[in-house]
């Protein structure tokens, strides 16, 4: 083995104080370890690039046929060469927004309760319960939403739409609450139900990331806050929340990424439509991943290409969201301004 290490003088005082030459790695096992780590890193990059290139190649045909109208057309009839992702992409974003609106406060409250308020025994129990919630397969959530929740809970969207119908996106134009014969199905299979269930699904992920970052808030500062006469809520506001800000943002973005890509639960709940549906409480919704899941089995070769193009658009959107998130996190470091 050729080792180019500058062996220091065994006595240790022959060389005077001076910047020492950098010692190269001792080789062997370290080199292997570094190689493995590097390999893992590049494999992940390579995998992602492969997915992107695969989608691009398969979708190129569809892109070239549709041109720019791919982003402005709402219908999805690829075999009639009349298709675009305007409706499904907007639908995806709407479902993800509803999911975040549901999941963020729930996760924040849960994480704060677990890390700050809950007694020890409850803390352990809740932590494992939340972790297990993340392990429930999404098809179970989908069935729960499609066969139980959206039918038993019709009153929720009805109440929302009647009381808050003056907010444009909460109105349901097809509904006629004064007519008892009007169908109640206008409140089912909607963006709201899909988003709600997806929100339940991403809540555990957001919650665990938040809880982890909250528990790492330095003990010294907590006690400092108490010493200055702060209440518990005051302490949380002035120490825990600022310290855990990056965890909150990171967890939320992780959840958003999952919400954008959630497939089977959405596919089970929604009734797919191909117009932009801004009324989130009304029947009919769509998302890119649900579209792919429902149509790929039955798609013609060109239709499959169109689905790949839609998948590429979603892939890009998720990438942008994730890069934006990491930029936000990089700008607000955990414990910024604290001396812990």
């Amino acid at each position: 083995m050729t080792q180019l290490i500058d062996v220091p003088d065994p006595v240790g005082h022959a060389t005077p104080d001076a910047p020492r030459r950098r010692v190269s790695l001792p080789g062997g096992i370290d080199r292997v370890f570094r190689g493995v780590l590097r390999g893992a890193g590049f494999t992940v990059l390579g995998l992602m690039a492969t997915v992107g290139v695969f989608l691009l190649i398969r979708g190129l045909d569809a892109f070239s046929v549709a041109g720019f109208s791919f982003f402005t057309t709402q219908t999805w009839q690829p075999d009639s060469r009349n298709f675009g992702i305007a409706a499904v992409l907007v639908g995806t974003l709407l479902i993800a927004s509803v999911a975040l609106v549901v999941a963020f406060p729930l996760a924040l409250g849960m994480a704060l309760f677990i890390s700050e308020y809950a007694p020890r025994w409850l803390k352990r129990f809740l932590t494992s319960a939340i972790d297990l919630m993340a392990a429930v397969p999404s098809v179970v959530y989908g069935l729960f939403g499609s066969t139980l929740l959206q039918w038993r809970g019709t009153d929720i969207p009805r109440w929302l739409s009647i009381q808050f119908g003056w907010i444009p996106f909460l109105s349901v134009p097809q509904a006629d609450p004064d007519n008892p014969l009007s169908p109640e199905t206008v409140y089912a299979t909607s963006t709201f139900w899909a988003g709600l269930v997806v929100g339940f699904m991403i809540m555990p992920f957001i919650c665990s990331v938040m809880r982890e970052s909250f528990t790492q808030a330095p003990q010294g500062e907590r006690e400092g806050a108490y010493a200055l006469g702060s209440t518990r809520w005051g302490m949380i506001r002035s120490v825990v929340l600022p310290f855990g800000r990056s965890g909150m943002i990171g967890g939320t973005m992780l959840g958003l990424g999952r919400a954008l890509g959630e497939t089977i639960a959405v596919a089970l709940i929604i009734s797919p439509i191909f117009v932009i549906q801004p009324h989130i409480l009304g029947a009919g919704a769509n998302s890119v991943s649900a579209l792919i899941a429902q149509q790929w089995g039955a798609a013609s070769p060109f239709g499959l290409g169109a689905l790949m193009a839609a998948g590429l658009a979603l892939f890009m959107l998720t990438l942008v969201v994730n890069f934006a998130a990491s930029a936000v996190i990089a700008r607000s470091r955990s414990g910024q301004g604290s001396d812990a």
Partner: protein, 538 residues
């Protein structure tokens, strides 16, 4: 417990659990591979899933393991083409052009079609009059086409009323429910509409963004404002069966409506009679199916226009697509298993078709099917005495017994009559709502039901119930508009509360949901509880 003893005790407990599990698993494992069977897998039709699933369970006792994924006919054909499954089940063959795209078949000679079961694509609906479910709805093909193309959007449309002289349907919106995945049911249904009412269908197609003329059949029902799309036959039937989905109608194989405990509409045939999709009506209709002698595929054009008064027009066969050569994934052992499965359902399996909501195959198709089975590589080529199959269609003189003995429809099922049949097949008591006879007893009870369900106007409900008891239609009619369908049932003796087509328990879905919830709670809450328990113990 001493620290040393604890791990040992835990290991012993773990071992016990493992052994118990092992015993249970072995005990429940079918006595497989005694005959050299290997598991086979298929995918496709949800239309015929209920029959295949029953047969699949029945052959488990012989050690035959069949996995079938009901993912829709189109997906089944694609998976078979890509060698992902051993067999596919589809309502339509390869090589058809759907929305301008030809579905290219696998290499010629590598597959063949085998008819497996017949059935009627039926119209399952959920509509009440006076809090009572309507069970004797009648529709003509044109009405159906207009409903599913959104030309008729209300249940009290004059055209529906013309089909149903004895029903006073409320001013509810019609919610057509279609399949969102590529499906053979959609293909059969749209083929019927495109063939019989091409003009209406083409207009709809163009409004929905399709370019072809004529539009023709399609496996993917076009998405359109006001039409709800759901995934799979079970998805659409689940949607329609919800109490909140009143006013909805969908197309599914009859067995799904039967399992859900919901009625299906009688469809008008060429002879002017409204007919239910019973096994007999389907058998009569399919006498007119043109079977291509080389590949056994069906041409249903003459079924739609069959002049027999017992015909259910939307009848069709479902096909299994079999491999006839050994490919990478499909070997002779699988062929052996598949052939024995096929021998079972072509013979004994057909007996249960009627009970499941399908119609058994006639003798000529069973014979043709047996010939196809012999082509499977590794087929056991079991000599089958079809006389012993107890297939209800078989006779000694080559005719289809089921079709020969099919009853003719009663006069009240004829188009244009003053009344229509109630569920027992007798003319409905009140003709056109003018006479109040027979409305007395049912009026009181339905008035009470109206009070419960209507909710908004309890006083009106009671009043309407009383007036319904008197047999006065006009007052019932007046309250129906805003009083929650109260008086109508009372005035109308034709509405019966007991659907005759129900033979299976209605609450199986609820039970499944309860089981699923319990399982979910156990999965979520069980492990932490156990962990806490064990931790406290130590």
């Amino acid at each position: 417990m001493t620290p040393q003893a604890r791990p040992r005790g835990r290991a012993a407990a773990l071992l016990t659990v493992l052994v118990t599990l092992g015993v249970v698993l072995i005990g429940f494992a079918p006595t497989a591979s005694a005959q050299g069977y290997v598991p086979i897998s298929g995918a496709g039709s949800t239309w015929s899933f209920n029959a295949i699933d029953q047969w699949r369970k029945n052959v488990q006792q012989f050690g035959i393991r069949v996995n079938f994924a009901a993912t829709g006919s189109t997906d089944g054909r694609n998976q078979f083409k890509n060698n992902q499954v051993d067999f596919a089940v589809s309502e339509i063959p390869y090589g058809l052009t759907d929305a301008g795209v030809k579905d290219y078949p696998p290499p010629a000679g590598s597959y063949s079609y085998m008819p497996i079961v017949a059935g009627g694509t039926s119209l399952m609906y959920n509509i009440n009059i006076g809090g009572k479910r309507v069970t004797n709805l009648r529709l003509s093909g044109e009405t159906v086409t207009k409903i599913f193309t959104r030309n008729i959007t209300m249940w009290n449309d004059p055209q529906i009323a013309a089909d149903n002289p004895s029903l006073k349907l409320p001013a509810r919106q019609i919610i057509p429910v279609v399949r969102s995945d590529g499906s053979g049911s959609s293909a059969q249904f749209t083929a019927y509409m495109a063939n019989r009412y091409g003009g209406i269908w083409d207009d709809f197609c163009h409004k929905a963004g399709r370019a072809q003329t004529p539009c023709g059949f399609t496996s993917n029902f076009p998405s359109y404002q006001g039409i709800i799309a759901q995934n799979g036959s079970i998805g659409v039937s689940n949607y329609v069966r919800q109490a909140q989905s009143e006013g909805s109608i969908t197309y599914v194989e009859y067995s799904y409506a039967k399992n859900a405990g919901f009625p299906v509409a009688k469809l008008l045939n060429q002879a002017g009679f409204y007919v239910s999709p019973t096994a007999q009506a389907v058998a009569v209709a399919l006498l007119k199916a043109q079977i291509n002698p080389t590949d056994l595929t069906q041409d249903l054009t003459q079924v739609y226009s069959d002049g027999d008064d017992r015909t259910y027009p939307m009848s069709s066969y479902s096909y299994m697509i079999l491999p006839t050569v050994v490919t990478g994934k499909f070997d002779e052992q699988k062929g052996r298993t598949l052939s024995d499965f096929a021998y079972y359902f072509l013979c004994e399996g057909q007996q249960s078709a009627d009970r499941l909501g399908f119609s058994p195959l006639p003798i000529n198709l069973v014979q043709a099917g047996l010939e196809q089975v012999a082509k499977i590589p590794g087929s056991t080529k079991k000599p089958t005495d079809i006389g012993k199959c107890n297939n209800p269609t078989f006779s000694n003189n080559g005719t289809n017994t089921l079709a020969v003995t099919a009853p003719h429809p009663t006069a009240c099922d004829k188009k244009g009559g003053p009344t229509q049949c109630d569920v027992s097949g007798k003319p409905a008591a009140s003709g056109g709502g003018t006479s109040g006879t027979g409305g007395t007893s049912s009026g009181g009870s339905s008035g009470g039901a109206g009070t419960n369900t209507g909710g908004t106007t309890p006083g009106t409900g009671g009043a309407a119930g009383a007036s319904g008891g008197g047999g006065d239609t006009t007052s019932g009619d007046g309250t129906a508009a805003d009083g929650g369908t109260t008086g109508d049932g009372g005035s109308d003796g034709s509405v019966s509360a007991v659907p005759v087509s129900v033979s299976l328990p209605q609450d199986d879905g609820t039970l499944l949901i309860v089981v699923a919830v319990v399982l979910m709670v156990m999965v979520v809450a069980g492990p932490p509880l156990v962990a806490r328990f064990m931790r406290r113990k130590s």
